[in-house]
Symmetry: C2
Subunit: 116 residues, 2 copies
DNA sequence: TTATCATATGAATGGTTGTTCATATGAAAG
DNA sequence: CTTTCATATGAACAACCATTCATATGATAA
């Protein structure tokens, strides 16, 4: 079938073990959320305490609109939650998974730098 | 200074604790690598065993060129390594961090689904 | 109700990035 | 040396995405 050299043995093995396309896509979509500097900074900010939109915007030196758009992305993915207090809406981390995933990334970065 | 309501207290606290811009960018760049379906599939394939470029291409039903481009990205980030055997070049996972980071993502996905 | 403050949102834009196509490299076999 | 096989690479194109601008929503205060 293939015009290249044979590797049917490996292909069969990998095909049996690899997760479904859907699962891999969902996983890629999750990591994509952490793969933007602005979103990463927002998440780091929320590590310390809940914050309102304009506080995040001021802190990051960015437009309220830009932050609001990104918060929507994070909220749609259930990474952050929000609560209203008067006119202000406070955002916070939805759970501790965010911390754990980011910490893993950090460990990789640090060990890679030590390795050099 | 700000035309909005005051949040200087929170800003000071967050500013003290948040990592440097450079570190956050590096972290975002790392997660970006996992945020593409093709790269994620390549990494999952290499979980099982080392593979040559054309085996991965055949397995994923994609062009050799597309895979080669992505392997370069992964190799530049030290997530995969390669070795030559005759005409063939085999790629493999550089270390176990890749597995750990991906497993963390999986855990989050699974727990999120249970939560619903 | 009207004005104001905090946030949300739609459309447009600019920049990034994954894939393709054509071609180049480089090792091994003849 | 020449051909072939496996992989790499550069340029071009298309799709995606983050930001901006203008405006809308929605709650509160007057």
């Amino acid at each position: 079938m293939s015009r290249t050299h044979d590797h049917s043995g490996i292909l069969k093995k990998v095909k049996d073990e690899i997760p479904s396309d859907e699962l891999i896509c969902d996983l890629a979509d999750l990591f994509k959320l952490f793969g933007d500097t602005t979103r990463a900074k927002i998440l780091f900010s929320l590590f310390e305490s809940e914050m309102c939109v304009c506080a995040i915007a001021e802190f990051l030196g960015m437009t309220q609109s830009a932050i609001s758009h990104q918060l929507k992305v994070l909220r749609d993915a259930n990474l952050v939650g929000s609560r209203r207090e008067g006119k202000t809406i406070y955002y916070f981390l939805a759970d501790d998974h965010v911390r754990i995933i980011i910490d893993m990334g950090f460990e990789h970065l640090i060990e890679e730098r030590e390795g050099r």
